[in-house]
């Protein structure tokens, strides 16, 4: 295997561009900053008010003890909350400024878009800089655009669903996002429509001390089917950046949403994301979550099953290398009868990295005949690394069947020995075992992502073994 050509440790996406900003960037957060964001976007008054109220909430809400424990160094005043690149949003890669275009080409986006995506959106700092839909998408009645555009062109649809799944008071970082959000995707799929190919968004942070606060809302109407994929990366800096998104999904009766994230932030990004879905009657929501990058990720995708026979699923892979902490998990709320959920979490820690699974399965009163199964497996590859598991179960119904299992282990000596006796090097054997370990999650990814994830983990492994 070839060694990475950029010397940034295992992280290969860590370059930065020189970019001019439309508004002079200011650090720190206050009502003026929030007003300015809203004003520069010419937003309706209800949104400005919503932002201002959210800011109050953010300021009032204390940091939870385990939050401050996880991030003792975070300084909310040392962050740029709004960075607007000068250029207008375009619909072709070629129309982007050349540096930005080169960045996306290096990330392989234009190529992927041509091959297998029904639509793609690229967010750079606070704004979507490129958005392109496949021909025919709009004819089906599918809306896929940036959140800001949706607010301008589909205000009623946005107003009806915005912040209904994750209200600003939900947690401190949801309040922060609600105050300063910018960019993100909006998707509406009409009843009975199957999008077919995935829709993709790519989020790139470029500047030092930048904050990215995108806001995504996906509505799959009755019987619709959509798969949304997001990727993220950022340059490597010595100071910290903050990414705090809010993602809301609404799956109406019989609809299916799959939301796939391959998060590969640079190791100086705090990744604090609130993701929650409502699954109505017979709807299915599946979160597929790959956490490879960032300094600290705290992310617990949730599915609230509000209609009978709804189904929620979280499949996640987390990799924590040097100085990384992946605090990820899942939350399943069963609020209706005969709902089912599955959580399958695989984590790998190495070179002093730390993985945490934190999850909650809750069965509300009245939700009869619920079934839920949680499985989390952790692999610890060396003696400096650690792994924690905090699974919660709250059951208010008698006939719920809830199970949880977890294992923590190292790569088995017998397995290693077996593979090495077949002529593999120790490194190759370890990589093979690790790949087998994450296979259950990788197998549900679209082909290209499965290859990408496997390759990323191999690169991470390679740079540190031997």
């Amino acid at each position: 295997m070839a060694k990475p050509d950029i010397d940034l440790g295992a992280y290969k996406l860590g370059w930065s561009d020189k970019v001019d900003y439309a508004i002079e960037p200011k650090k720190g957060l206050n009502s003026q900053v929030v007003q300015e964001i809203s004003h520069s976007k010419s937003e309706p008054k209800w949104m400005t008010d919503f932002r201002m109220k959210s800011l109050e909430r953010f300021e009032k809400k204390p940091m939870l003890p385990w939050f401050s424990e996880n991030m003792p160094d975070i300084d909310f005043n040392d962050i740029y909350y709004y960075l607007k690149p000068t250029n207008k949003q375009v619909s072709e890669w070629d129309d982007l400024p050349s540096e930005m275009k080169t960045t996306y080409e290096r990330l392989g986006l234009p190529e992927a878009e041509q091959k297998y995506l029904a639509g793609v959106t690229a967010q750079y700092e606070s704004e979507v800089v490129m958005h392109k839909n496949m021909a025919g998408l709009e004819e089906k009645g599918i809306i896929f655009c940036s959140m800001d555009e949706a607010l301008r062109n589909h205000e009623d649809l946005v107003k009806e669903h915005f912040a209904t799944i994750i209200p600003p008071g939900d947690n401190k970082f949801a309040a922060l996002n609600s105050a300063v959000w910018s960019g993100g995707s909006f998707i509406y799929v009409p009843p009975g429509v199957d999008v077919g190919m995935p829709l993709q968004a790519y989020f790139r942070i470029n500047s030092e001390n930048a904050g990215q606060f995108e806001r995504t809302l996906i509505i799959a109407d009755e019987g619709a089917n959509v798969h949304y994929v997001e990727g993220c990366s950022a340059p490597v800096y010595t100071t910290d950046s903050l990414h705090s998104a809010v993602v809301e999904l609404v799956a109406k009766k019989g609809a299916t949403i799959q939301y796939t994230t391959i998060q590969n932030w640079s190791p100086n990004v705090y990744n604090l994301v609130t993701k929650r879905a409502e699954a109505q009657e017979e709807a299915t929501v599946k979160w597929v979550d790959g956490n490879l990058g960032s300094k600290l990720t705290m992310k617990y995708p949730a599915v609230v099953m509000t209609g009978p026979k709804a189904h929620g699923e979280v499949l996640s892979v987390a990799y924590a290398g040097k100085d990384q902490h992946q605090d990820a998990g899942a939350k399943m709320t069963h609020a209706a009868p005969e709902t089912t959920s599955v959580i399958d979490s695989k984590s790998i820690s190495k070179d002093g990295g730390r993985t945490t699974y934190r999850g909650l399965v809750r069965v509300e009163d009245g939700a009869t005949n619920v079934k839920s199964h949680v499985r989390c497996d952790a692999l610890i590859l060396d003696e400096d690394s650690r792994s924690d598991t905090y699974p919660y179960m709250e059951v208010e119904e008698k006939d719920a069947r809830i199970g949880h299992e977890a294992t923590v282990s190292k790569v088995g000596d017998a397995q290693l020995f077996y593979l090495m006796s077949r002529g593999l090097s120790e490194h190759q054997a370890t990589a093979m075992i690790v790949n087998g370990f994450i296979e259950p999650v990788v197998s549900v990814l679209p082909m290209e992502y499965a290859v990408e994830l496997t390759r990323l983990i191999e690169v991470n492994m390679e740079d540190s073994v031997g």
Partner: protein, 452 residues
């Protein structure tokens, strides 16, 4: 919601200062009470905001509903008030020593001549001889201090004494040592304490039974156990408190090199019964096996917080907690397996299974892992669910009525723990107690059917 002030010291009812000062005992114990009294005053009462108190009703607990006992209630040390231990002691079968503790005060203590000859000490803490006092001073709080909280501090500040057990090097105690705790009185607060010190290569079995009257009362108990090098300690705790008792207990054990600790807890009684069951494996080769059975009915809340703390390499711990809840009762199992950095080549297993028998009953299960070493084997599993319909169906096809089938399945669910109790002596009486609880369930089921 009303917010209550928890300024305990100013309360007319729970006058902790006066009670603490009025208690008699050796000077070192008086000093100790004073020290912890001060610590207690600096501590605030817990709330459900704290993770360790989540899922409890601790916010509505008001210490001022109780009054601490003074010397006039308890009698002077050495005074025998109700010796013998009655049925509770007799049920435990043959014993090599029997201690009866009433309201926290040791009122009866008898050990066989054989044990005396071997140098085994079983004694009340305040009643002990001077040379034993020295040993007690050396040991007291060494283990429980590591799990200090408001209730531990309060227990120390109001310590009436309690029981001290010492098994010297290489001594094997054949029959169990039995401690019977009996508490009664309306709105009283009782403070129980047991210290067990087992030296290198020694072996002993200990049965500790807690029972109380049906009046409203508060019991705080601390049991601290030191398992010496290559020693073997078996422990059985049964909690069959009265139906209005709030019992907050700590059972903490330290195990030294190659030591083995086996414990079983059967928790059936009380209104709110909480037990922190903690084992620290201090040196390599140490191992522990902790089991529990709990069964809640009416509006009981049974609350368990466990810790398997691996502090050295090649240590092993195993935990199995099985419980059933019916009616409006609730159970909480929250456990932590902590494999520290130095605990390489260790193994830890943790299992919690819950049967939920009624619509209004709840079971919370939170099995946590904190793993800081890589060369380890560790797994946990937990389930919450109703009785398996297929099992019911199978029994129905064999002509067993639904009520009988339910009873058989619940008994069968517990049977695998009963079969493995660290000390078999109490299996029958405990099985009987579970049976009694199930019988009330069956009566209720019949009423429900008639109502239909």
């Amino acid at each position: 919601m009303t917010v209550q002030s928890t300024q305990v010291s100013k309360s007319p009812k729970f006058d902790v200062d006066n009670a603490s000062k009025s208690l008699s005992g050796p000077q070192w114990l008086k000093d100790r009470r004073e020290k912890y009294l001060e610590l207690f005053h600096n501590e605030s009462f817990p709330t459900t905001e704290q993770e360790i108190w989540r899922y409890t009703d601790i916010n509505s607990f008001d210490i001022n509903n109780y009054r601490p006992l003074t010397v006039s209630d308890l009698g002077e040390p050495g005074e025998k008030k109700s010796p013998g231990g009655g049925v509770v002691a007799a049920e435990a079968g043959k014993n090599s020593a029997l201690v009866v503790v009433r309201d926290g005060r040791v009122v009866h203590c008898k050990l066989s001549d054989e044990l005396i000859a071997k140098g085994v000490i079983v004694s009340g803490i305040v009643e002990a001889q001077d040379d034993v006092q020295e040993k007690i001073q050396e040991r007291i709080g060494k283990i429980s201090d590591e799990s200090s909280d408001t209730f531990i501090l309060l227990n120390e500040a109001l310590s009436v004494g309690g029981t001290f057990i010492h098994v010297p090097k290489s001594v094997v105690v054949e029959e169990p040592i039995v401690i019977v705790h009996w508490s009664e009185g309306s709105q009283v607060a009782v403070f129980d304490r047991t210290i067990v010190d087992v030296e290198t290569n020694a072996q002993v079995s200990i049965i500790e039974r807690f029972e109380s009257s049906d009046e409203e009362m508060f019991i705080s108990s601390i049991t601290e156990v030191l398992v010496g090098q290559n020693a073997n300690v078996k422990f059985l705790t049964s909690q069959e408190d009265g139906k209005n008792t709030t019992h907050i207990g700590l059972h903490r054990t330290h195990v030294k090199r190659d030591g083995r600790f086996e414990s079983s807890t059967v928790s059936l009684g009380g209104k709110y019964s909480r037990l922190r069951c903690e084992v620290a494996l201090l040196e390599q080769g140490a191992n522990s096996d902790v089991m529990a059975v709990y069964y809640g009915n009416n509006d009981q809340l049974l609350d368990f917080r466990t810790l398997q703390d691996h502090r050295a390499e090649n240590t092993t711990s195993n935990l199995l907690f099985k419980g059933a809840v019916e009616d409006e009762s609730r159970s909480v199992y929250s456990g932590m397996v902590h494999l520290r950095e130095q605990a390489q080549r260790s193994q830890a297993f943790q299992t919690n299974r819950n049967l939920v028998l009624d619509h209004g009953a709840h079971a919370e299960s939170i099995p946590n892992l904190m793993i800081e070493a890589n060369d380890v084997k560790c797994s946990h599993g937990s389930t919450v669910g109703p009785i398996d319909e297929e099992q019911m169906y199978y029994l129905a096809t064999r002509g067993v009525s639904p009520q009988d089938a339910e009873k058989l399945i619940v008994l069968g669910f517990f049977e695998d723990v009963f079969n493995r109790l660290s000390i078999p002596a109490l299996v029958e009486p405990l099985r009987r107690s579970v049976n009694e609880k199930i019988s009330t369930l069956l009566v209720r089921r019949e009423d429900e059917q008639v109502a239909k």
